[in-house]
């Protein structure tokens, strides 16, 4: 029973915070009050989450699961959806990440947002987001997950468009919601397919019904259903082709970008696939598609990231790219690796976003990197924490990113679902990541000070912002130690265990074919070391190159831009994807609607009504024309009538 209470507290305390701030705070409370309230409820949630996860570790044997069923949500015919929430090893990680990172970001926001007019609203939205995210991760059936799924989308919509007086920002929010909706529509259909195949949408029940062997058919409900769910995931997690909303989503306040568009919400798609690993594992074709899409996204986003000037845009594309890694991991059946990277990425990307927030805050809302540079002496703490994030993302050991990314790369090479091409693409992506991230560092913190010193007085942020930065920096360093690969731990003195793997044991499924390869890892050890070295080496090389380009010889990039010309234009303009969508999908749709309205509604349907009316009126006019007023004409009608009737009667 207590567990139920704690689940309820975990879920509802952000909701309570949302309501308190939303209803009572508006226009009355300042940033500190409402921020304190919101942070308190986030912290409460984190505390209960921690308690629950602790409780989970106690449950050694049997299914490690803590669940609570509150009421029956929908009950119609064979469809039964209880409002049931669970904390199991998979969701436990997410719950901790969400509430933990969430709390930190709440804290950060107090400093970042307290001067904003709508700060109460801001905090209520943040709490609202937390609530929905928790529903998403703990929900024990697809529909409940979908509730959170759409709920976080809604929160994201509200927060992106937070400064709605600027129409562009409002538009960005709308774009995010609608793009997500496309994915959601597919998600719904996916749910239907699964429901009518399995007869239930509860995870555990589906798990028990999933066929043993892989389903090798494109048209089987399993493949189709998972594919559609994956399309849903591409919407939420910004993968090709639905990633376009995420860069625009940077219109929101920076902590929001950190929380929603880097750490938590955008990983929901990955989480969903991990959560349903037993299902996806049985659908290898889907996995293949996921891997391909993931790999493509990695490269595409990374290349775009090379040429952006907006610090947040760079981070956004990097997020897209990193999400691509997670999908790649899922695609090759390394669900654990995906979850691992999800977690580490949450740490270091949140860190980097917050760091950039700190920079932006310090620079009085300047986001263009061309007008930064040399900030490390103005923002020392920010710089150092950012440095940790940088090292993590480019995959330098022993930072968090190294372990998780390496796990993915290794799995994509070695797993039976994997292929060396995936590995190659992954390494390419890592190299590019390393380049543009170093570029970001170079442009922002190193080199010359390019900003106008008269107007800009860069200053370090308050402690409420720095504490989260530091905390996240620590996590970015140590976070990866939870999943140290066997090859490394063997050489390390203490032989630290792979905690994560142990934790997730039994909760995750490996692709059926992949299990066979696990044996004889000794043979693989050398290969693993080699590949690891290669990727780290390449990343280093790339980082050095970037350093050379942007610090040592700044004229090289300009030369390159001139040389590459169109290719650069293409990348700089994000491959014109937005323009293509606008031109070939949106504009024709609006045009078609206008035409339909003008032609079908107005010119055909209404016209038809008018034609009928006109026909009646025409008959009326004929009837009127008959009335000449002339007596003899009337008499003629009588005679004609008689004549005609007689003619018809006698059938002449």
């Amino acid at each position: 029973m207590t567990n139920e209470y704690f689940i309820a507290i975990m879920l509802l305390s952000p909701l309570v915070g949302f309501l308190i701030n939303g209803i009572f705070g508006r226009g009355r409370w300042g940033g500190y009050t409402s921020g304190a309230i919101a942070t308190f409820f986030a912290l409460t949630s984190f505390a209960s989450a921690a308690y629950l996860v602790f409780g989970l570790t106690e449950l050694a044997d049997g299914p490690r699961i803590i669940s609570a069923t509150f009421f029956d949500w929908i009950t119609v015919d064979e469809l039964k959806i209880p409002a049931r929430f669970v904390v199991d090893p998979i969701s436990a990680i997410m719950v901790l990440v969400v509430t933990g990172v969430g709390t930190l970001i709440h804290l950060f926001s107090i400093g970042y947002m307290h001067e904003d007019r709508g700060v109460t609203k801001y905090f209520s939205y943040l709490n609202f987001f937390l609530f929905n995210m928790l529903v998403l991760v703990t929900g024990d059936s697809l529909p409940i997950m979908f509730v959170g799924w759409e709920g976080v989308g809604l929160a994201s919509y509200l927060l992106i468009g937070f400064w709605f007086n600027d129409e562009e920002k409002a538009t960005a929010g709308m774009k995010a919601f609608i793009t997500n909706r496309i994915g959601d529509a597919a998600f719904i259909i996916g749910m239907f397919i699964l429901f009518f195949h399995f007869g239930t949408l509860e995870f555990e029940k589906i798990n028990s019904l999933v066929p043993v062997g892989p389903t090798l058919s494109w048209l089987s409900p399993l493949t189709l259903g998972t594919l559609l769910l994956f399309i849903g995931a591409t919407g939420k997690s910004a993968q090709i082709p639905l990633y376009v909303w995420l860069p625009d989503a940077m219109a929101g306040p920076t902590p929001v970008s950190a929380l929603i568009h880097a750490a938590t919400m955008v990983t929901a798609g990955v989480y969903m696939i991990v959560r349903l690993s037993f299902l996806f594992a049985a659908a290898p074709y889907t996995l293949m598609v996921i891997a391909i899409i993931g790999a493509l996204t990695v490269v595409l986003a990374a290349t775009i990231g090379l040429a952006q000037w907006d610090i947040k845009k760079v981070l956004a594309y990097s997020t897209v790219s990193q999400l691509g890694y997670m999908f790649l991991a899922c695609g090759v059946g390394a669900f654990g690796a995906a979850l691992f990277h999800l977690m580490t990425h949450a740490f270091f990307k949140a860190l980097m976003f917050l760091g950039s927030g700190s920079v932006i805050h310090g620079m009085h809302h300047e986001q263009d990197m061309r007008r930064m540079g040399g900030l490390k002496k103005y923002l020392p703490i920010t710089y150092f924490t950012f440095l940790a994030g940088w090292l993590a993302i480019i995959g330098m050991p022993p930072f968090a990113g190294f372990f998780s990314k390496d796990e993915i790369l290794w799995q994509s090479f070695s797993s039976s679902n994997g292929h060396w091409i995936f590995w190659a693409i992954g390494v390419l992506g890592a190299t590019l990541t390393s380049f543009y991230m170093t570029r970001l560092m170079a442009l922002t913190f190193w080199g010359q000070e390019r900003f106008d010193k008269k107007h800009h007085h860069p200053h370090e942020s308050p402690y409420s912002m720095l504490i989260p930065l530091i905390a996240l920096a620590v996590l970015s360093i140590v976070g990866g130690w939870l999943g140290i690969p066997h090859v490394i731990s063997e050489v390390l003195p203490a032989h630290p265990a792979n905690v994560l793997e142990h934790w997730l044991e039994g909760s995750l499924v490996h692709p059926i074919a992949a299990t066979a390869v696990d044996g004889g890892h000794a043979d693989h050890a050398a290969l693993e070391w080699g590949l690891m070295g290669l990727s780290v080496g390449l990343a280093l090389l790339s980082a050095v190159t970037a350093y050379v380009f942007y610090i040592v010889k700044p004229e090289i990039p300009k030369l390159l831009v001139q040389k590459l010309g169109q290719a650069y234009e293409l990348v700089f303009n994000k491959y014109y994807v937005d323009e293509i969508y606008q031109r070939y999908i949106l504009n024709p749709l609006v045009k078609a609607s206008e035409d339909l309205w003008l032609y079908v509604d107005v010119r055909i349907i209404d016209k038809l009504t008018y034609v009928l009316t006109d026909m009646s009126i025409g008959t009326g006019k004929m009837s009127k024309a008959m009335q000449t007023g002339n007596i003899q004409t009337y008499a003629l009608y009588i005679v004609m009538g008689v004549a005609i009737i007689l003619t018809i009667f006698f059938g002449v």
């Binding site: 508006r26 226009g27 009421f71 029956d72 949500w73 929908i74 009950t75 119609v76 015919d77 469809l79 529909p143 979908f146 509730v147 799924w149 759409e150 709920g151 809604l154 919509y157 468009g161 709605f164 007086n165 600027d166 129409e167 409002a170 538009t171 709308m174 919601f177 609608i178 909706r181 496309i182 959601d184 529509a185 597919a186 719904i188 259909i189 239907f192 397919i193 429901f195 009518f196 749709l589 609006v590 078609a592 609607s593 206008e594 339909l596 309205w597 079908v600 509604d601 349907i605 209404d606 009504t609």
Partner: protein
Amino acid sequence: MLLSQIILFPLLAAIILLIFNSKSDLLKQAALGLSLAELLLGAKLFMAFDPSTASLQLTENYSWISQFGISYSIGVDGLSFWLVLLTVFIFPIAILGSWNSINKSQKGYYASLFVLQTAMIGTFLSIDAILFYLFWELSLVPMYFIIGIWGGARRIYATVKFFIYTMAGSILMLLAMIYLILMHKELMGSYSANLLDWYKMQIPFVGGVLLTPQTLMFFAFSIAFAIKTPAFPVHTWLPDAHVEAPTAGSVLLAAVMLKMGTYGFVRWVIPLFPQAAQYWAWLFMVIGVIGIIYGALMALVQTDIKKLVAYSSVSHMGYVLMGLFALNQMGVTGALYQMLNHGISTGALFFLVGMIYERTHTRQIAHYGGLAPFMPWYTIAFLIITLSSIAVPMTNGFIGEFLILMGSYKSNPVWAYFAVIGVVLGAAYMLWMVKKVFYGPTGKELSGHKDHLVDLSAREWIILSPFIVLVFWMGLRPNDFLNYSRHSLEHWVKNQSSYTLDVKK
């Protein structure tokens, strides 16, 4: 007698108002009081209703036109229960919504509203065909006046179009009803216009052949109901009527009157002509799908808020039609639920549009912009209702659309694939409108009205809060509502091809 009281009390109220001194300020209060009294009767019905049975309850039966077996026979079951409650619930709010906007001949206005209420409730409760037809047509008259007298600039065009469209459809229905009365005589040996008797008839049906009695009558009824619903090619009266009607008129039109059409399908068409309904279900699903997508596309390009909401109605009612003709329990449950949802969300939307119209006297989306800073609570209310309208989970809209789509998927996946496009488009047009109206810089046209842009008044809060409560209640605990209809719907679906209805003694 309870049902008769519910039907006839508003009529009595109308008469009371008519002999009221029209100069008196008490008129509005009296109207509100009377409608609240009716709401109390609704509450009594809520207490008296037994959700554990599928049979018809609280029936009353008095002989009326005995020579043709026509009787005053009414009853309620799970299919009509919520619609009746919706009607009694929405009227006091509608009266509150007309509080300041109706200044001309108030007496006639409130009397019309009450007559309308009688007609609507009567339509939902009638078990006799001719009685049903009587209420069905009667509902046209007050609505005709409400739009025609208290409406906007093109009100006469709109109201006449509304009247003629609906009447054209219902004439066919009347003929089919007469045919059924005669057929009952032929098959069963006595005249009867009682629906319960009709259910027992086996109406000849030959699949695919148009000129068989069942198919012909199926279409005769369907056309009448499709026009009222309104389904795709016969929907054009709706935008006009909505745009021109006064706020309460739009609300009642959307919230209750359109339901009369879909309720007709549930109560009359499908159980009476089961084979034809099954045979032609695909057609109506296609019409539903077209309605969903077409309505959404239309809404996407409207420049008038009310017209946008009106076209969104077309889209929403497309879902209902689709759910009904899925002919399985999920679809039909969803459809029934969606009827209520649409009543609540679109009703509330029209109220909201009316409120802003009272302040700015324009309905052009282009004239608005940046309202949110001036009217934050209004914006929140609008947003909540918008979310309900675009079926975000935890609001009522989601439950309805989810069940409908699921039911449709079960009966024919292809249409569900198409229908789901509407989910995306729905979000698109609503959010686009929200963006244009509330966000961005303040509209140029509004600069003169800034003094009027005050946030919600207490009266407006009273109007909106029930809707908001219901949006979440119905979204979070649908079973609280569905339990009242569950047995009826189960019975309806399970015994589709030989549907009969018992009377609970």
